[in-house]
């Protein structure tokens, strides 16, 4: 069973609809026990790091996610879901789940003509192959909405990057965890293809 983690962080139905469209049956759940024992997990989310962590802890979902990660099941983090999977976020000065070494930083954009948040379609450049990114082609663009960006501690955790004044990490992975800063569920065909690659991924990754 694939579960979409529900922690009061945004609209999960759009993720569920996109999964449904590519044939991945997924249920929305906020039950810690179910999530700890799920076969496949999608961890989406929009909003702020502070309230997200409070909500995760309140329901015991922080421990459930850690348990699932250690059990080796495939996990896909999306946007805020990816961000709180690191150790620390500058947003709300918040300690986060620490599934992946690294932190989340605020965009520091000096170019006044660049709008904040980083919202819209941007090109995603694969810097290291991964099964979840297998169908991406050069020039493919995905939909983003965020004011903070992930910065993995180790460069080998970075699988894709985009540019907004400077390059930043937009896809990070460690073992059975993979996460995207962009929204595959709102990124048209290329996003649906990424979700179908995730649906087929067994969670193994060899460095």
């Amino acid at each position: 069973m694939t579960l979409i983690v529900d922690y009061d962080a945004g609209n999960l139905k759009s993720v569920q609809r996109a999964c449904d469209y590519v044939g991945l049956k997924a249920s929305i759940s906020n039950d810690a026990q179910s999530i700890a024992g799920a076969q496949r997990i999608i961890f989406p989310g929009v909003g702020a790091a502070g309230s997200a962590m409070r909500s995760l802890k309140l329901n015991g979902l922080d421990k459930a996610l850690l348990h699932a990660f250690e059990s080796g099941v495939p996990i896909l983090g999306i946007c805020l879901g990816l961000q709180v999977s690191f150790e620390y976020s500058e947003e709300d000065d918040q300690h986060t789940l620490s599934l992946i070494p690294g932190k989340v930083r605020r965009f520091d954009i000096s170019d006044q003509s660049l709008k904040i948040p980083h919202m819209g379609w941007n090109e995603v450049e694969v810097v290291k192959p991964h099964p979840v990114l297998a169908k991406l082609a050069p020039g493919d663009e995905f939909y983003f909405v965020h004011g903070y960006y992930p910065e993995p501690k180790e460069q080998q955790r970075v699988f894709a990057r985009s540019a907004y004044q400077d390059y930043f990490c937009v896809a990070a992975g460690l073992k059975n965890y993979f996460g995207t800063q962009f929204h595959p569920e709102k990124s048209g065909r290329v996003g649906l293809e990424l979700l179908s690659c995730f649906a087929e991924w067994d969670g193994s990754y060899v460095e």
Partner: protein
Amino acid sequence: MLSKRLIACLDVRDGKLAKSIKFVNTQDIGDPVEKAREYYIDGLDELVFYDITASSDKRSIMLEFVEAVAEQVFIPLSVGGGVRNVADATDLRLAGAEKINVNSAAVLRPPLISECAEAIGSQNVVLSMDIARVAVSDDMPSGYEIVINGGRKPMGVDALAWALEGERLGAGELVVNSIDADGTRDGYEIGLTALISQAVRIPVIASGGAGLPEHLFDVLTRGKADAVLVASMVHYGDYRVSELKSYLHSQGIKMRMSW
């Protein structure tokens, strides 16, 4: 870097696609779900639906309609028209809308913007502004005034001041709709769009007046817009979405070209 966005706007009345000219003489021109799907397949970057249903007891039709679109269109969907409170906004979000447009109700009660931003996130709140050209005066220093109720009622509010206030209250994006240009197909109001886009840090969507591909180019360059809204240009088959994007791309505008 971010691509400029091509957004199609569909006016929906009782679940049907309508097109207005200067906000009057609306006529039904087809099935909006079918149109939405067609534009999505053809590379559209974002969709906006304005609910122009007259009676509020028909709101459930709009929710069903949004849901039908969300099941098969996987780009951001933005919905507006008659959003008066947080409950309206969250209902539409649950039905599948990514972003919520507020317009008249926010002019009448500005805290609506911050309430929606708190409930659904600032980035999902779009402040849509209908703007009329007026004489420059002490009360209207920008020479542009906010109007509501489909362009019929001037509000005595300066458009530039309202844009800045909207940003301060937590709007994540602005739609700058010129009611003078709307439906004319003579081009967007470039000066107005540039004036507002340069004054705020949030993205600005130009709206009203598009008739030729060159108009889109002008407002994305001289008008400093982050996105362009089109309606009749594509609804009547004069131009295809992909054709407009290819044109802008060929003129050096960064557009999403693989879909």
